[in-house]
């Protein structure tokens, strides 16, 4: 590998951080799309020069940008996200029915083998797909029109489809997560979907183990073991060994099991990372100490990773799409904060250093290993 490229989406633009394989000296470019909210910037696994970016604004709506040269130049592509058929209603915060209304794209997930195929997760929750490099988008309506859909209710951040995992072995299988509906799986390429929330317990729900309604914050999978899923829920870190058929809690000895991102080491499928946050009412690290926690046992037993991270007076958050791992050896891990720092570790989390310190609030972090 010749190097890595870290793609950072922030509240006020996108930034690209590049380094060679040592990952010590970084070049920073940006802001790209200055002033716009960049919910997600990501690259195609099939062509690292093909990037997609979700660009949005409360004033001017949603745009999708595409780069074919690794982020040196960009072109706006299709931005029409139309729900298919009868739109229907979901529940609003006050419990009244409200028509589905497109607001923005939270997450883009390119196909592992076709640079022109990319999935997009929307608020209000829906899954879209483009097979022409983002030129046009078609909804996979079986998810939104699931029989439980009229009962879905937004989380505090909106009713967003924020996680999309394409099964690398079974190409008809896709996992998604929605706040606050829960996790869902399709086994037929997106035509039909089933909730996969058995084992989740959320005391915020009138029925704590309901089939849907859980505020899932993030899912993660190691590509070598597509039946093993890890979840950071609103509260609780969870694990499934049967592709979401059932979940068990693996929060173990974490200081708090509230948080947003969760990630899996690139070469060790039982090594996982979370960024514990004090609580749902205090969105900052416990004791003002920014600590990533690592489990080498697939959960339950956790160790704090603190070297190079601020251990006093730190009150930032780490959002759900703002942690990523590279595939170099040793594995690199990166995360961004709402305080505008992007931290990187080139040794699997043993030590950290800020790559940049003063960006706008970081919404997403992705990393590409470059050939």
């Amino acid at each position: 590998m010749s190097g890595v490229r870290v793609l950072v989406g922030t509240r006020k633009g996108a930034f690209i951080l590049a380094a060679d394989g040592a990952r010590r000296n970084w070049e920073v470019s940006g802001p790209h799309f200055g002033g716009w909210e960049m919910y997600h910037v990501t690259g195609s696994p099939a062509d690292p020069n093909r990037l997609y970016a979700s660009q949005s604004s409360g004033w001017f709506g949603q745009l999708i940008q595409r780069s074919d040269d690794g982020g040196r130049s960009w072109q706006p592509v299709g931005n029409e996200f139309a729900y298919t058929g009868e739109v229907g209603d979901h529940l609003w915060y006050d419990g009244t029915p409200r028509p589905w209304e497109f607001k923005r794209i939270w997450h883009l997930e390119p196909s592992p083998d076709d640079p022109d195929t990319v999935y997009a997760g929307a608020e209000d929750a829906a899954l879209f797909r483009s097979t022409d490099g983002g030129g046009s988008w078609q909804e996979l309506p079986g998810l939104r029109t699931h029989e439980s859909g009229p009962g879905w209710q937004p989380g505090a951040g909106g009713m967003c489809l924020h996680t999309i995992i394409l099964d690398p072995v079974n190409r008809d299988r896709i996992f998604v997560a929605i706040s606050a509906a829960g996790a869902f799986r399709t086994d037929d390429g997106g035509t039909t979907w089933q909730p996969i929330n058995r084992g989740l317990v959320s005391q915020q729900l009138p029925d704590p183990d309901a089939e849907v309604g859980h505020c899932v914050h993030r899912l993660a999978m190691h590509p070598s073991r597509p039946d093993v899923l890890f979840m950071q829920k609103h509260w609780d870190v969870m694990r499934s060994d049967d592709a979401g058929g059932s979940w068990r809690e693996v929060s173990g000895d974490l200081p708090t099991d509230f948080g947003f991102p969760i990630a899996v080491h690139a070469h060790e499928p039982e090594t996982i990372y979370v960024a514990p946050i004090t609580s749902d009412s205090e969105h900052y690290p416990p004791e003002g100490k920014l600590r990533v926690y690592r489990s080498r046992t697939g959960g339950n037993e956790w160790e704090p990773l603190t070297t190079g991270l601020p251990q006093a007076n730190c009150y930032v958050n780490v959002l759900r799409d703002a942690m990523a791992v590279d595939t170099l050896d040793p594995c690199g891990i990166y995360f961004g904060t709402t305080g505008g720092q992007v931290y990187g570790s080139a040794d699997g989390g043993d030590s950290w250093a800020p790559i940049v310190r003063d960006l706008p609030a970081v919404l997403s972090v992705e990393v590409q290993a470059l050939p």
Binding site: S57, G58, W59, F60, G61, N79, E80, A82
Partner: protein, 98 residues
């Protein structure tokens, strides 16, 4: 010839500098001007008017001749001084938060 001014975000998106000048034929209305604008700059589609409804996005305003035309019918005639090119048609991002 109709003069149109865009907010900074949209001039960057359309990669234009300063005012845009559009040759528009027919009774000059807001709809006709925006149709012509989007035809020349397709990347603006969906940013001023909602894709699905065709209506002005909530935080976009249309001003001309010191008047707020945002809530006028899209098919109402624009002021004569806009039609003659004496005054520009202004697309504005509303003052609303950071």
């Amino acid at each position: 010839m109709i003069r149109v001014r865009l907010p900074a975000h949209l001039t960057h998106l359309a990669q234009v500098r300063g005012e845009i000048r559009l040759d528009v034929v027919g009774p000059i209305t807001q709809r006709l001007v925006l149709d012509a604008l989007e035809a020349r700059y397709p990347m603006l589609r969906g940013t001023i008017r909602d894709h699905q409804t065709g209506r002005r996005r909530p935080f976009v305003r249309f001003y001309a001749c010191e008047e707020d035309l945002s809530n006028e019918s899209p098919d109402a005639p624009l002021p004569d001084r806009v039609v003659t090119g004496e005054e520009p048609f202004l697309v504005i991002g509303a003052m609303a938060g950071g």
